[in-house]
Symmetry: C2
Subunit: 224 residues, 2 copies
DNA sequence: CGGGTACTTGACAATGGTCAAGTGTGGTGG
DNA sequence: CCACCACACTTGACCATTGTCAAGTACCCG
């Protein structure tokens, strides 16, 4: 079965024994979602949580006027919707696919009983949630203490981190979604891209961004 | 020893056996902090996490210009500083006492080995972190999608929740700190208190707030 | 009673959001 | 293969909310 391979490579189930992986595969289910499909909505009763096998999923909050704030974008190997497994029982945000996606579902009750028997899974889940809390901490810091240009600069620098040496990065999401990730709107984002370009800090070609002046970009990310 | 009693009543260690509580008391240490004392700073290497025995502690992020965003305010029975126990290893934010406080410390390594043996502690910790994630989700929603009056209204309504029937609440923190909790500054908060008062929605007497028009306050919290 | 901190108030500036009208651009069907 | 349509993105004019700076007032603690 393909799932076993997938589970072994996911952050949350890494380091488990074959027996543990085997147990997991017996309780999970795999589904396909087309692009733009709703996995769950805020307030929905939660029967379990999810793992992205392939594709891309956005987790977001919606304002009454329709503006959205993206909390996370998850790709292959990442889990989402675990909060209501442990507290509450309703999803605290919305989940919608950004691409056609294959998603694995783990039912709450079976998973909880498994976690009671296998401390390693609990520890992995704790690490996963800790990371999530840390990221939220950054998001809050950005939204509350930094201006949009700083947030964008920090985002570009973050994309650059992996690509050692290179100066060009490619956005894996649309600029509209990026605006929503950064807590702003497409118009504002567009103007800031414009500003950074005319100041010679970056060059934008569609979804590709070339960093021309990294030092300056780092200044901007720091808030001047 | 007084700690055992304290642990039993804390959210994170509730439902543990006497033996488990006993184990915990052997690894923890208790310290007193005066008002305004630093428990840890962002970036500090973490040797463990903390439980508030008495007093009040603020967890916050600091901007380069000195503005602060409070992430949590923790009182008796609540834990903080657990994130780096499971990931990273450095505290992601600052912790300073708002009052003279008695705080219990749990060293990371001993706690991790304990958690491996006692799944119930892991489950409690998972519930604690899930709740934390849920609250962050609200904070992000507020900062990104709501204006300051909505945030204040929601905060007052939150304080009102416990007090069934009553219409008067008391802030347990200063208005300056409240501003920092709501992601704004004292001047702005002051003006909004003013506005709500002149509109007859609330009445403010020092730290006491009387809700005169709850329906209107709920409208404001919803974003009109 | 005094001093410092917390809070308030005013005038102003600026960031960023709103509304409206373009300008691409990619994908689909003829 | 091209035309067209929808959608993503851009640009402009405007404005609302909120932050900045500077005083002034009130209040609490010693």
């Amino acid at each position: 079965m393909r799932s076993a391979e997938l589970l072994r490579n996911s952050f949350i189930f890494q380091g488990l024994t074959e027996a543990q992986i085997g147990e997991l595969t017996t309780i999970c289910a795999e589904w396909d979602y087309p692009k733009g499909a709703t996995v769950f909505l805020e307030g929905d009763r939660a029967r379990g949580f999810y793992l992205v096998a392939s594709g891309l999923v956005k987790i977001f909050k919606l304002a009454f006027d329709g503006k959205e704030q993206i909390l996370h974008i998850f790709g292959p190997g990442e889990v989402f919707g675990e909060v209501p497994v442990f507290v509450g029982g309703n999803y605290p945000a919305n989940a919608v696919t950004l691409e056609a996606s294959r998603i694995v579902f783990f039912p709450k009750d079976e998973f909880l009983s498994l976690i009671g028997r296998e401390p390693q899974i609990a520890l992995n889940m704790l690490a996963d949630m800790s990371l999530r809390l840390k990221r939220f901490t950054h998001l809050i810091e950005n939204l509350s203490l930094k201006e949009v240009p700083s947030r964008l600069a920090a985002y570009i620098l973050f994309l650059l981190e992996d690509k050692r040496g290179e100066a060009e990065v490619r956005l894996q999401i649309s600029k509209g979604h990026l605006a929503s990730v950064l807590g702003t709107i497409p118009e504002t984002l567009s103007r800031i891209f414009n500003r950074l370009t005319s100041e010679g800090v970056i060059e934008v070609k569609g979804r590709n961004i070339v960093v021309l002046n990294r030092a300056r970009l780092e200044q901007i990310a720091a808030g001047l």
